[in-house]
């Protein structure tokens, strides 16, 4: 396929996915007691667009299925069929199926058998639910689909037909079917007798016959379907267009046409064919886990490849273009001013232009960063559906309130937030929320509510998941933490510290009986992802009133607020987020433990002192005793005081990857370029602390 076509296909998948999302959102937001006609039109239009585009781009399966949805919607739109809650569920499932279709079509796979069955079942239910048989849709998508095939130079169809069991009893003339088919074009058939049971179990009045047919024809698929009109039921008829002329036929196809091998045999052979991984495992070359891991990796790569585009609002691009225009003018101003730099006027012009340049570069930087920003809506949009389903499943009435969907977040964040937020919302519905009876007993409204809020506060983004459920049982958490050795016996942690314990790995997965169970299922994933993003988690909980979990994230991954320091001859950057304070140390505060480990007593707390220069092996000419500046850092609940030579200032730095041309370095999270063009390394505080702990252990 040409590049251009591939590009259009990508656009089709993106658009179709968006349309499906739109359908889902509309379905969920509809008030079934007072359906807005406009909403129905929206649904119908979306289904219609997907159908039309799918047919154009050569995905007849997608088109055919969407057509079924569309024809279900038609009487609803006309007011002939009420939109019942059941029908809504079916339509939602339909939307899911469209997504599944798209997912597989994008990979060039056909729909897995399981999904095909689900689809047949769903179509059946959509139709039976209508009460009356559907009016036939003459504008058939099948024509559209077939047309697309002819457009691509369709040569015909490969047909698999399994005769209905009662074909003989009904007196169906099977022979005639083939005669009719033969009229359409060149016909090749392979009877499949493998479905006939052993003779002692055979009821001679049952029909167990099946055929694989290869029909070369230019007729549209609809004509073929017509032939089978009275015998096609459920999924006993499968029609697939043959690969277009000019494309390389599969080996199976050649064997079929040239050597007369029956399609049933080919299918059987293919089903025996093992995947590479299985073969290797069988040979004993690799462990199954290794293969699974590799498959996971492959999947991840695939996902990455797919997610590598960003849709940017035209408005954003326009503003960038304007800005670049202004920059060009400023540059001209500067050039002119530099020519007259010896005059007073020239000097004034110069400083004015420089001021302008300063403002424009800053704005340009912000706007370019803004391209990576996408509204948090992208994550939020999946939750109405999820809460709806979960509520139904668990028999809880839950409403979902969302605020601040327009808040923008870095694209990377959006992707990494999906899992954590899904866990949090699911846990809130499943475990945070009481049952209806419990709610009634405690005098709350039967309808529980979950609020998802996103807001931008200064340099960070807050995302909150709040439920009005029973809240965390801190006594239980305390007990459990003692049992699991997370807390020392007799310690008195604060409420906040106890709340955060629910994010410890496997904290409550072990014992499913307690009422906080499940609150820890996957919660460590939340912690992990948020930490990777450089954010933190806050938990507020009030017994009987509910729980609020707040994710605090930096605005972007590309820029960081840093504290630049000097150690020896080198400049380093501390991420400001992990710096608590910096202070001058007094000799009296420092004590040595075991001879060389230094600790400092700060407001009654003993904190280890880490000599940055020593830890990083920096060359310098200073005597250790002179280093009196300490930067107090915190990570993962541990604190340390890092001794540095000089504090250079606080500034925003652009993060550059060390890994592009070099490699990962322990204790360093990246690099940045300072105003003078030199490279400064950004310190990875948690990594440094681990390294220090390792050295201490080795030294002890």
């Amino acid at each position: 396929m040409s590049d251009a076509m591939a590009q259009f296909r990508d656009a089709f998948f993106e658009e179709a996915t968006e349309l499906a999302d739109g359908m889902e959102a509309t379905l969920l937001s509809m008030d079934l007691s007072a359906v807005e006609v406009e909403d129905l039109h929206t649904l119908f239009r979306a289904a219609h667009s997907i159908k039309g585009n799918a047919a154009t781009f050569g995905f007849p399966e997608v088109a055919a299925f969407t057509h079924k949805l569309e024809s279900t919607l038609e009487p609803v739109r006309q007011g002939d069929r009420p939109l019942t809650p059941d029908l809504r569920e079916l339509l939602l499932q339909g939307v899911d199926l469209i997504r599944t279709h798209l997912y597989h079509a994008r990979r060039g796979e056909s729909l897995p058998v399981k999904e095909v069955q689900a689809q047949a079942a769903l179509i059946a239910r959509l139709q039976e639910d209508a009460g009356a048989p559907l009016p036939p849709m003459p504008s058939a998508p099948t024509t559209a689909a077939a047309k697309s095939v002819t457009m691509k130079g369709g040569r015909g169809y490969s047909i698999r037909f399994e005769a209905p069991l009662d074909a003989f009893r009904r007196g169906v003339n099977l022979e005639r079917l083939f005669r009719d088919l033969a009229k359409l074009g060149t016909l090749q058939t392979w009877p499949d007798l493998s479905r006939i049971p052993p003779v002692e179990q055979l009821d001679p009045e049952d029909c167990h016959l099946a055929w694989d047919v290869r029909l070369e024809t230019t007729h549209p698929q609809m004509d073929v379907e017509e032939v089978f009109e009275f015998v096609a039921e459920g999924d006993n008829l499968r029609i697939q267009p043959l690969a277009p002329e000019g494309s390389v036929p599969t080996l199976g196809e050649i064997l079929q046409t040239e050597a007369g091998v029956s399609p049933a045999d080919i299918r059987e052979a293919l089903s025996q064919q093992k995947r590479l991984g299985e073969l290797l495992v069988d040979m004993g070359k690799v462990q199954p886990e290794v293969v699974n891991k590799a498959l996971d990796q492959q999947q991840k790569k695939r996902n990455q490849a797919e997610a590598s585009t960003v849709r940017v609002a035209t408005e954003k691009i326009d503003r960038l273009v304007n800005l670049v225009g202004e920059l060009v003018i400023t540059q001209a101003m500067l050039a002119q001013a530099s020519q007259q730099s010896n005059t007073l006027q020239g000097e004034e012009q110069m400083s004015a232009a420089l001021l302008q340049l300063d403002r424009q570069t800053r704005e340009l930087q912000e706007r370019v960063m803004g391209i990576r920003m996408v509204p948090v809506e992208m994550v939020f949009s999946r939750f109405p559906r999820m809460v709806h389903e979960l509520g139904k499943q668990l028999g809880k009435d839950v409403e979902l309130l969302m605020e601040g969907q327009a808040t923008e977040l870095d694209k990377t964040f959006i992707e990494m937030l999906v899992d954590p937020l899904t866990h949090l919302v699911r846990n809130a519905v499943d475990h945070g929320m009481e049952t209806k009876e419990e709610r009634r007993q405690s005098g709350k409204a039967a309808m529980g509510s979950i609020a998802l809020r996103a807001s931008s506060r200064g340099g960070s983004i807050h995302i909150e998941v709040k439920d009005d459920g029973k809240g965390l049982n801190r006594d239980r958490i305390y007990q459990k933490a003692l049992d699991r050795g997370l807390l020392a016996p007799g310690s008195r942690p604060s409420d906040e510290e106890l709340n955060l314990l629910i994010f410890e790995p496997g904290f409550s997965t072990v014992e499913q009986v307690s009422d906080l169970s499940g609150r820890g299922v996957g919660m460590d994933v939340v912690k992990q992802n948020i930490r990777t993003l450089g954010g933190r988690i806050e938990v507020e909980s009030e017994p009987g009133r509910g729980t609020l979990i707040r994710l605090v994230l930096p605005l972007t991954l590309a820029i960081l607020d840093g504290l630049t320091v000097r150690a020896g001859d080198e400049t380093y950057v501390f991420p400001l987020a992990s710096v608590l304070e910096s202070f001058q140390r007094q000799a009296a505060d420092v004590q040595t433990v075991k001879g060389d480990r230094e600790v400092i007593s700060l407001r009654g707390e003993f904190i280890p002192v880490i000599r940055l220069q020593h830890l990083l092996g920096v060359v310098g000419h200073r005597d250790a005793a002179e280093r009196t500046l300490l930067v107090l850092v915190e990570s993962e609940g541990r604190r340390a005081a890092m001794s540095v030579d000089e504090l250079l200032g606080q500034q925003q730095v652009v993060i550059k990857s060390l890994e592009t041309h070099y490699k990962r370095v322990e204790g360093i999270s990246g690099a940045t370029i300072l105003g003078d063009g030199r490279v400064a390394l950004i310190l990875d505080v948690p990594g440094l602390m681990r390294q220090e702990a390792g050295m201490a252990a080795a030294g002890a």
Binding site: G617, Y662, R664, V679
Partner: protein, 166 residues
């Protein structure tokens, strides 16, 4: 051998540079640019032959200290080292040399395979793609050592870069 194989090729352009008084050369097609002035930021606990990184117009590029790589000792105080930026196997790397002299057209026929230098030598034969003799100013020939960048970089610890990048 290399000479018969090369006879069909046109002249090969190489960039010549000096290192501890010896003349070396790199195929010019591997060279991206030459940086005279750059401050190296040291990387903690990096091996001495790869001490740090520089800022190359916004990209962070590691530096290979060729003197250390070949165990030629420290550069004398008065030399101002130059960084040759090369691209090898898709990654950018700076090579620090004493000075850059010339771009030469070499006749592939004049390139001879390097003799066995013994296993003790830090500059093993494997890094050398050949030797060429140049007519010197004084009449005596000078020898030019042609380096094989790919092999130089695929060796030992440097290949850690490769695995780290995947």
């Amino acid at each position: 051998m290399a000479s018969t194989e090369a006879s069909s090729q046109a002249l090969q352009q190489v960039l010549c540079f000096a290192l501890a008084g010896e003349a070396y050369a790199l195929p010019i097609l591997k060279v991206r640019e030459i940086q005279a002035q750059a401050t190296i930021t040291r990387i903690p606990k990096a091996p001495p032959y790869m001490p740090g990184v520089i800022n190359l117009r916004g990209a962070i590029v590691p530096i290979l200290e060729l003197r250390h790589r070949f165990s030629l000792g420290e550069a004398p105080e008065d030399t101002r080292p130059v960084i040759v930026i090369v691209e090898v196997q898709g990654r950018t790397l700076g090579i620090r040399v004493d000075s850059v002299s010339d771009v030469l057209d070499l006749d592939p026929n004049a390139i001879r395979p390097a003799p066995e230098l013994g296993t003790q030598s830090a500059l093993g034969r494997e890094f050398i793609s050949g030797l060429a003799s140049l007519p010197g100013a004084t009449g005596s020939d000078t020898m030019l050592i042609l380096l094989d960048l790919d092999r130089l970089l695929s060796d030992g610890e440097l290949s850690a870069l490769e695995s780290a990048a995947v």
